[in-house]
């Protein structure tokens, strides 16, 4: 009972982090490991700060908010 509740809470927390972009860097590292780590022409892995700056600047291109 407690176990399932804990699992639920963890899942919600996971969703909140994903929604807010709090775990964007971790996602990037995962993506990097899966797609780029073993290729020859892979770009060097970005630092947390460099990644965040790139991610945020990119996020605000185009229509993001409505009436």
């Amino acid at each position: 009972m407690l176990q399932t509740l804990l699992k639920k809470v963890r899942h919600v927390w996971h969703c909140v982090r994903r929604l807010s972009g709090d775990d964007a860097y971790e996602q990037y590292l995962k993506h990097y490991a899966a797609f780029h780590a073993n290729t020859l022409d892979a770009p060097p892995v970005l630092s947390r700060k460099a990644f965040y700056q790139l991610w945020q600047d990119k996020k605000w291109q185009g229509v993001k908010r409505c009436c």
């Binding site: 797609f35 908010r65 009436c67």
Partner: protein
Amino acid sequence: MRLWGVMGMNKKSIIWILVALLGAFALAGIALHRGESINALWLITAAVCIYAIAYRFYAAWIAAKVLTIDATRATPAERLDNGRDFMPTNRWVVFGHHFAAIAGPGPLVGPTLAAQFGYLPGTLWILIGAVLGGAVQDMVTLFFSMRRNGRSLGQMARDEIGAIGGTAALIGTFMIMIILIAVLGLVVVNAMKHSPWATSTVAATIPIAMLVGIYMRNIRPGRVLEASALGVALLLLSVFAGGWIDHQESLRVLFDHDGLPLAYAIIVYGFAAAVLPVWLLLAPRDYLSTFVKLGTVFLLAIAILLLRPEIRMPAVTQFVDGTGPIFGGKLFPFVFITIACGAISGFHALISSGTTPKLLANERDIRMIGYGGMLLESFVAMMAMIAATVLEPGIYFAINSPPGVVGKEAVDAIAKINSWGFAVTVEQMQQLASDMGEQSLFARIGGAPSLAVGMASIFGTAFGKGMLAIWYHFAIMFEAIFILTTLDAGTRVGRFMLQDLLGNFNKTLGETSYTPSVILTSAIVVASWGYFLYIGVIDPNGGVNILWPLFGIANQMLAAIALSVATGILVKSGKLRYAWVTGLPLVWLVTITTTAAFQKIFSEDIRIGFFAAANDLSAKLAAGALPADKAAIAPQLIFNQHLDAYLTLFFVSVLWVVILDMLWMCVRHLNGKPVPKLSEAPHEPSRLVEDWVRD
């Protein structure tokens, strides 16, 4: 069990029949109710049942039959996964992103203004419009964009209909943005006018956002939740701090201003926000506004359920005849134009063809995200309607009627409102203002203050009456923070569009990081909405009377463009027999926008027709019948009325060009003549396991 089987039914069918009956019962209750007051729970019940039925049956039918969604087909997120903008994402997370993007101040302001017709017309349109129009538009646009690798509405219009449609969509978007920002700026100005508490709280949101931005960028890079928690705590503190400032004689004068200086402040702020880097102001403000918005909407829903307030507004008021004080014009078509975003918002088509389609892990998710997202937005509009109509009608009209209609003095305004049959006294208004920590609540037009009074009285009754003033200013802060987010984001989008356009003539001007171009284009965009904001502030009729219908027409026009694109694609894909799904809402939107535009241009009534108002004012000015202060601004108002008339004419012309272009394309297609090819991306099977969604 066997018995059910024999009857061809199961438990699920029974439940859905019950939901349908309950919804029909609640709706009939609302529509036929003729008493002193009706409980808000009826509205909530009707809404939830109608949404549930529409989602379960209509949306599912559209997904299966009209769009023929294919769960085994790889989405662009899967095919083009780059770990950034294209990325298969858990559907709840996409839903959250999508809803946060579409839910703006529109569904709060529109229903509040439309409540002048009574609670019934607006409520019905919020329900019917969302279920048959808005949610369908969002869902089909999302689907078509997803099948085209997340292409934008403008690009789809160009690819599927022709160059004219694409250009029209682009111009439409730009124009709406300008009018929208002006009207939103006006709403904030009216909420802050001579209110040191509101002004200081709203002003405090700027340094708070900057602090959060610096925290996220430099102190703890990427720790979004930490920074947001800090920001929200500071925002709540700023509400209390505003109350403290309001009680300090030396400090409160710093924040006690007329409309015009506040409008200038907003214009300067808008320019700064468009030029400053996003991370410093726009992005952190957006985080804060999203959290505050979701939290407040949730809180409001709980409070309404706990409190079950009585609705005091009559079902239908006498103002359906077009003489309403808040804005002129008859029920048809102006209730539809005014509600706008809570039922159908063309702007959503831009979000549905922007970020969202690039995140979908599976085609199946579009029903929940496209259709479901709009239903939730419509529910927010419903709550705004409830918050506006739980007020005593007399109070509602005293807050929302401009001085140009009811008179400048409190006694005159009260006499006028009483003459309409709505009881309210000067003392009552004074008591209310002092409860809310304000000097006066008369003529606080624009919808935000009356919504805040409604919310404060709901929150106050549900969670403690002693804090009405805190709740009121919390509600004002809540509205201001995301109005300003829309203002920032809109100005920036306008700047990008303009730079894109200028790039066609001069390459360097098109570069988004070229400083002279950034300053030039930002200044043009800010000056455009700044002009309408300025006129709105000096207009004795309040400006909302002019700007909100203009915004509504532009917004519904954009929705009609989105539905045209969708209808054109349906016809071209050989689904003529299902084209009514988007075609019917399209016909309706064209009818209301064209009628409203026609009346705004040609009506003889000076409260509706732009030319009539301009001519009336010119005649009065020429005859010397105006007092000196009014005569001084009259030439500007006359010019503005003319400008608005031509702008409206331009809007409907653009709309009709797109529609005729689409119809011409359909006729050619049906006659076997060549038309632009469907630009759908080719089918690729999904490699994501059936019930596995990356989260």
